[in-house]
């Protein structure tokens, strides 16, 4: 089970004041200040008024080591552009992208190729597989480009094939595979070079819902083994909730809110975020530690549960025991008491404002 707190301290990848502007002369809007402007909102509007398209406006966030950072947004929100700015498939107009503290945007083409070869992996929405290569050659493709010997290349590719569960499919060509299997190849290829940073651009959006859920589980399983630093793009809020350690919600090229899924649900920054959080199944998001009741005192006759227990499984106990249950941290220390009142309070925090919003 992933840790909901996500206490990753070291920053792996940092995106600072990144702007991407399309148009005839996008540079004119930025001086040497690395994309730092006083009022990003106003600045973006000014650029739009000058007939330019703002794909990303002043985007800043950190991705910590071993963390799954999800960027969620609807189509046109700039989420695909920002992940391409991070990998420099798209050249940002202004700002900084720091990988291990070094500015990626200052790297030469040769250095960039080297970084991509060893530190980055990327998975694409429609897979981006080479149609002329079979599964094992597709997965070994990045290694081949590096000039790795065939035997070594295939040995590594075979390890990855086992990891993504494609044994027996080595000699098939992409068009002979189902969508889910093709994306396994895409995942395998992106992992073949053992990258530190892993970009996934809507990797499961092209798959049908059942397969999508399977692949999410698979993805979490792989991540629990590899502990990569991940930037995961999706337009599906439920998917974001399932896998994110932390997430950013984007709108019109700008970040609206960053935080743990639970933070977003309990304290949505604005009505836009609330639109998404409204329909979430609370019982599957809230955990015992989120519904602590400050007024209740732990007594010996109460049952004990782990901090990460989902409210869904806790509901019968709360209904039965008026005084609630004791919530314990991983080390066995007592965090507090979860009660039905605590649950109601947590729900009220997330829900109440939205009802007023609807009335407006």
């Amino acid at each position: 089970m992933k840790t909901p707190t996500g206490d990753h301290t070291d920053v792996k990848l940092s995106c600072r004041n990144v702007w991407k502007v399309y148009g005839s002369q996008p540079e004119q809007f930025f001086d040497s200040s690395q994309g730092r402007v006083e009022d990003a909102h106003k600045h973006a509007d000014a650029i739009r008024d000058a007939d330019h398209i703002v794909a990303n406006a002043d985007v800043s966030f950190d991705v910590h080591v071993g963390e799954i950072f999800v960027i969620m947004g609807l189509s046109g929100s700039g989420k695909s552009t920002i992940v391409r700015c991070l990998s420099r498939l798209v050249e940002p107009t202004a700002g900084e992208v720091l990988l291990d503290g070094e500015d990626l945007l200052k790297k030469s083409d040769a250095e960039l190729i080297d970084i991509r070869r060893h530190k980055m992996g990327m998975v694409f929405q429609s897979f981006g597989l080479m149609p002329h290569l079979n599964v094992i050659d597709n997965i070994a493709f990045p290694l081949k480009l590096q000039g790795v010997e065939e035997t070594e290349r295939y040995a590594q590719a075979n390890r990855v094939i086992e990891l993504v569960g494609l044994e027996g499919r080595e000699n098939n060509f992409p068009k002979e595979l189902s969508g889910g299997q093709q994306q396994r190849v895409g995942i395998g290829r992106s992992l073949a070079v053992e990258p530190d940073v892993w970009f996934l651009d809507e990797p499961f959006s092209a798959l049908d819902p059942l397969i999508r859920k399977q692949m999410q589980d698979e993805f979490l399983r792989i991540q629990s083994k590899l502990h990569k630093s991940i930037v995961f793009i999706t337009h599906d809020f439920q998917e974001a909730l399932r896998i994110a350690d932390r997430m950013a919600i984007m709108r019109d090229g700008a970040v609206v809110q960053i935080g743990r899924p639970i933070d977003l649900i309990l304290n949505p920054a604005d009505d836009y975020v609330r639109e998404f959080t409204q329909d979430v199944p609370w019982e599957r998001i809230l955990r015992a530690e989120d519904i602590l009741d400050g007024a209740a005192k732990p007594t010996d006759d109460l049952n004990k549960v782990a901090a990460g227990t989902l409210v869904e499984t806790l509901l019968p106990a709360l209904a039965e025991h008026e005084k609630g249950v004791i919530v314990e941290a991983e080390d066995g220390s007592t965090l507090g008491v979860a009660t039905a009142r605590g649950l109601a309070a947590a729900l009220a925090g997330g829900c109440a404002p939205s009802s007023t919003a609807q009335e407006e």
Partner: protein
């Protein structure tokens, strides 16, 4: 809302007024009817001077190239002629098998046996050897230009019009300059064929490289590909299918040009065989030789198309070496076996003369019988078509109607009646709010009455230029005016009109007939299944061959040319009509069905309007095919630009031939741009996209 005129309509009414004024003044001002001789720019003379200079001072260079290219041709020719026929035939069958399976292999075997039996083996091999050298060259050149155009927008802007010109200038027109530069011999055919066949490779290369999905490129980049790796290991393999389609088209173009180039003679190939037998009126022989070309074209087309279609299939690698390389193994073993056998059994080495069998004599007798016994019927068909269709279009009703032709004289009463009917129709259309239709009726009626050759050139030029402007914007209007202006000042306008008249009738008939067949085929799978192989065959048939059956029955003349053009140009009309109707969005059809449209309503009010843009692309192709065939039809005696080109070639007059050739290219490019622009506009209006 009856009688609504917008600015557009007023422009057109103005054009019609000017046209009528020109018509009434042309008896006063002779320069309107006929562009004065003194004002003709002697561009063809200048071109001849330039050409002479080049030949004199740079000739050594071209002769050197020619000399260098002669060797590989000779080598391939030697090998193909020296190999026992059994080995060659076997290898071709293996290639066909590898490309598309045993059916094509069997067809290839039958084709090759036919060549042997009819006794055209060595001629066929000579043609093949030229194709074998020209295709790799064309692919190389085409790929290089394609890559350049892909990476540089500026290069593309230069290359594309160049390709248009190369593909629309009639092939006869550039045979002569090549002949003058490179000297007499097989090299002329080679160079001409490379020039003619590399453009499709360029186009396919650009389209293919462009078509690689951005995600594949991005995944290549993220895999750490260097620019060279990205190109050769990501872009090119992903675009392979399109590239191979380019190879297919280049090969077909190369073959057809090699055949056409044999007109200069001395090649001892199969094209020369067809031509010389036509000239000697040995139609049986020429038809048999033409069949060889047709079979060759079909085999080559199916093989290269098969390779393109199979480019996505890869053999699983867990098979054994022999299994994975079965084609190579079979080819090597079989070839060796046949080679040895051929040394023992002479009949496998050289096909015995006694086994040859030519039904040419019988065919000639049969033809003579038909022509003699059905002379009356044949003459009637010819006469009817000539008096009632071709002549009116050429010299107009005012010239065509006479007691001799139509059985009565064109009296004043007739003329007034004609005018009244035309005006009534146009006014009725305008009253119904269809002013465009009304204007079209007026212009068409004027054209029919005075005939294309009877129209004053300033009026026609104006009509075309305004048409271009209205359809494709200012650039097209100006371009049209300039292009036609070139035709006027070089003094080839009268011949150009003769070309337009012949090609125009042929295209009109092809389009109407072809669209009708296409509509039928779209609604009836059986018809579709019957029509398709006919289309495939007609389309792969080198243009030359199509002439033969018509010349056999109708002798030389414009009517024969007309039929040959129709036979070739009808194919795209059928194809596009069927494709357009079959690929309509199903939700619209379902909606119309649920509203309760009858079959007739469905066709006329839903399907045809929606399919019209695709059909217009079909018209575009019909015109292009028509012009291509028109050039070849010069061989059976026409009078237009194509004939000047042909005469230029046989007289060795470079300037005259090339000017006429450019004239034809101008007409082709203008009509191409206009129909394309119209189709695109309609498409955008309908929100459709055409693949």
């Amino acid at each position: 809302m009856p009688f609504k005129f917008n600015r557009n309509d007023l422009h057109w009414l103005g054009v019609i007024a000017v046209t009528l004024i020109c018509l009434s003044l042309q008896s006063e001002w002779a320069w309107m009817a006929k562009y004065p001789k003194d004002l003709i720019l002697p561009i063809s003379d200048w071109l001849n001077v330039i050409m002479d200079w080049i030949v004199e001072y740079l000739g050594w260079f071209f002769l050197g190239v020619s000399w260098a290219l002669e060797w590989p041709i000779k080598a391939v020719r030697f090998v193909l002629n020296a190999l026992p026929w059994s080995v060659t035939a076997f290898l071709f069958c293996v290639v066909a098998w590898a490309a598309s399976g045993w059916k094509l292999a069997a067809f290839t075997l039958v084709s090759m046996l036919y060549m042997l039996m009819i006794g055209y083996w060595s001629e066929s091999m000579n043609t093949l050897s030229l194709v074998a050298i020209s295709v790799p060259l064309a692919i190389l050149v085409g790929f290089a230009f394609g890559v350049w155009g892909f990476f540089s927008d500026r290069a593309e802007r230069i290359i594309m019009p160049m390709l248009d010109v190369l593909q629309t200038v009639p092939s006869f027109a550039y045979l002569l300059p090549i002949l003058m530069l490179f000297g007499f011999g097989t090299v002329v055919g080679l160079i001409a064929s490379v020039l003619y066949s590399f453009p499709p490779m360029v186009r396919n290369t650009i389209v293919g490289l462009r078509g690689v999905s951005p995600e594949i490129i991005e995944s290549g980049l993220m895999s750490g590909a260097k620019p060279g790796q990205l190109f050769w290991q990501v872009r090119v393999p992903s675009a392979l299918r399109q590239l191979l389609l380019g190879v297919n088209q280049a090969t077909m173009a190369s073959l057809s040009m090699v055949i056409i180039a044999s007109i200069i003679g001395g090649t001892a190939d199969i094209g020369w065989e067809v031509l010389s037998t036509i000239r000697k009126a040995q139609f049986g022989e020429s038809l048999l030789a033409g069949m060889v070309i047709a079979l060759m074209a079909m085999v080559i087309d199916r093989v290269t198309a098969g390779l393109a279609a199979r480019s996505g299939d890869y053999d699983p690698e867990d098979k054994s070496f022999a299994q994975r390389h079965r084609y190579w193994v079979v080819a090597a073993l079989g070839a060796a076996l046949f080679f040895v056998l051929a040394q023992i059994f002479g009949t496998l080495n050289v096909w015995p003369r006694t086994w040859e069998f030519s039904p040419a004599g019988v065919m000639n007798d049969g033809l003579t019988y038909v022509v003699v016994n059905f002379r009356g019927e044949i003459e009637t068909v010819k006469k009817l078509a000539f008096f009632f269709v071709m002549l009116p279009a050429k010299i107009g009703l005012q010239g065509a109607v006479s007691p001799f032709t139509w059985g009565f004289d064109l009296t004043l009463a007739h003329k007034i009646g004609y005018a009244a009917v035309v005006f009534a129709l146009a006014a009725w259309a305008a009253y119904r709010g269809r002013t465009n239709t009304g204007i079209a009726i007026l212009i068409f009626a004027i054209l029919i009455y005075f005939g294309l050759t009877g129209m004053p050139w300033p009026a026609l030029l104006l009509i075309c230029a305004v048409g271009g402007w209205k359809i494709g914007g200012r650039a097209l209007g100006v371009g049209t005016a300039l292009g036609l202006g070139f035709i006027v000042v070089t003094g080839i306008w009268p011949e150009a009109m003769l070309s337009v008249y012949l090609c125009g009738i042929a295209v009109l008939i092809s389009f109407l007939l072809g669209t009708a067949i296409g509509i039928w085929a779209a609604h009836n799978d059986t018809v579709s299944a019957i029509v398709r192989p006919f289309n495939d065959t007609l389309q792969t048939m080198p243009l030359f061959v199509l002439l033969i059956p018509f010349v056999m029955v109708f002798k030389i003349g414009e009517f024969t040319a007309l039929l040959a053009i129709i036979a070739y140009a009808i194919v795209p009309a059928i194809r596009y009509a069927e494709h357009g109707l079959r690929s309509l969005p199903s939700n619209v059809i379902e909606a119309a069905t649920m509203i309760g449209a009858t079959n007739r309503q469905m066709l006329w009010q839903v399907k045809i309007p929606l399919a019209l843009p695709v059909m217009m692309l079909g018209l575009n192709q019909t015109i292009m095919y028509g012009i291509a065939m028109l050039v070849i039809a010069a061989l059976v005696g026409t009078n237009g630009l194509e004939q000047i080109v042909y005469i230029g070639l046989s007289d060795g007059d470079f300037g005259v031939g090339i000017i006429a050739g450019i004239g034809m290219a101008i007409i082709a490019i203008i009509t191409d741009r206009m129909t394309n622009a119209w189709s695109r506009k309609r498409q955008e209006d309908l929100g459709l996209s055409i693949k």
